[in-house]
Symmetry: C2
Subunit: 241 residues, 2 copies
Amino acid sequence: MKLYIVGFGCGSYEGMTLGAKLAIERSDLIVGYTVYAGLIKQYFLDKEYFCTGMRQELDRVEAALEQAAGGRTVSLICSGDSGVYGMAGLAYQLSPMYTGVDIEVVPGVTAALSGGALLGAPLTADFAVISLSDLLTPWEKIEKRLRLAAQSDMVISLYNPSSRKRADYLRRVCLILLEYLPGDTVCGYARNIGRNGEEYAVMPLCKLKDASVDMFTTVFIGNSQTKNIGGKMVTPRGYNV
Amino acid sequence: MKLYIVGFGCGSYEGMTLGAKLAIERSDLIVGYTVYAGLIKQYFLDKEYFCTGMRQELDRVEAALEQAAGGRTVSLICSGDSGVYGMAGLAYQLSPMYTGVDIEVVPGVTAALSGGALLGAPLTADFAVISLSDLLTPWEKIEKRLRLAAQSDMVISLYNPSSRKRADYLRRVCLILLEYLPGDTVCGYARNIGRNGEEYAVMPLCKLKDASVDMFTTVFIGNSQTKNIGGKMVTPRGYNV
C-alpha cells in the first residue's frame, strides 16, 4: 500500500540520503531504469528488482503502482532527485487509477547540486535548470527558455546536453547563448559524478561549444559574476571580500 | 588541512546524505549559523561547535578556513545544499588567503527539492530558483529575473519569500507574475520542511499573493501545465497518459 518515489542521488553510497536508504531497505520491491538500478544494486543485494529500459517510464510507474496497490511496499527509484525530471510527477498523474496507494516522495541530490559541488560553487546565486532533451518538450520551448535565462543573468544548469541523436545540441545552445553572453563567461561541466570516470572541467563559453559531452554530463553556464578560482567555477554572492 | 563544506538538507536526520554524516563525523570542529547548527547538534552531540548569528557569514567562513589551515578537520555546515545560496562560494573566494587547505564540497538536498517532495512533484520540468532576499542582490535584478522566468513558462521556486523587513515581498512578486500568468496558475508553498510545524499548501496564484509566509517557507509557482492532483502540486512532463 506504500509507494516510495526515491531519488538516490548520483549513484554513490555517500550521495544517498539516509531517508532514501531507509525507504529502499523497507521495500519489498525496487522498480527502476535498468542502468540506474544497476548503480545501487550493490548496496541492496537482497532486494527484488523490476527494471525496464530507457523510454519505458510508463511501464515502470504502472508496475510500481500496481504492486503497491496489491499490498507490497515498493520503491520506485530515480537517479538524482525523484522530482527533477524524475518519476514523481508521472506517479501522481497515474495514481487516481490505483486506489489506496500511499505515495511518499523522498527527495535526492540532483545533478545540478552534485555536479556543482564537484565544480566548486557555481550555484550560489539564482539559477535555472533546463534540459536539452526534446523528447518530451518541443525544441522551440527549450530555445525560448534558454534565450530568456541568458538575458536574466541567472546561472544555467543544462541537463541531457547530448545523446546519439542530438550530438550537436550543446554547440547549438552555446551559439544561442553567445548572442547574449560574452565568450569569456565562465562555464564548466561535470561527468559521471560520484562514479567511475568522474571528471570536471572549467572553461569559457567560447570553448564550451566545442566540448565533448554525453548523456552523463551536466553543464553549467556562469552568470556575469562567475569566476574561475584556482580551476574551480565559483559564483560570488555579493559579499564584500 | 581539510575543510568540508557540508549541505545537511532540511535538518531532519533522514534528509542528510550519508556523505554529509560522514564528513561531520570525521571533523574536529563544526562551524555554522547558530539556528541551523541547532537543528543537527542532536545527531552529533560529542562535537565541538563554533556558531555565529545571522549575517555573520564572513566570520564563519574565515574561522573555518583558519582552523583548517591550522591543521584541523573542519565542517562548515549549511542548511539545504552547500552551494545553493550556501557558503561554498565564499569559502572558495577566501581560500587563496589560506594555504594548504583542501576544500571538499559535500552537496545536500536544497529546499526546492525537499519542499517539492512535500508538495508532490512541482519540478518535473525546467525550473528557476530565485531568492527574494535583496540583502546581496539588488531588487531590480531580482524583479528582472522574475519577469523573464514568468515569460519562459518555467516552474519557479522562490527562496526567502519574506522577513520582518520584507513582509510584503511575496505579494509584490505575485502581482508582477500576474502580469504574465493567469490567476489560476497552480502554486504552493512548504514550510518548516522535515521539522516541527511542517506544513504545505497548494493554491492558485491569485490566492498565493495573500498567503502568509516566513523565512522558513519555500514557494513554488507552477508552469502552464502544472495541476492540482488530489491536493498535490504536480507538473506533468509530456507523457501521454
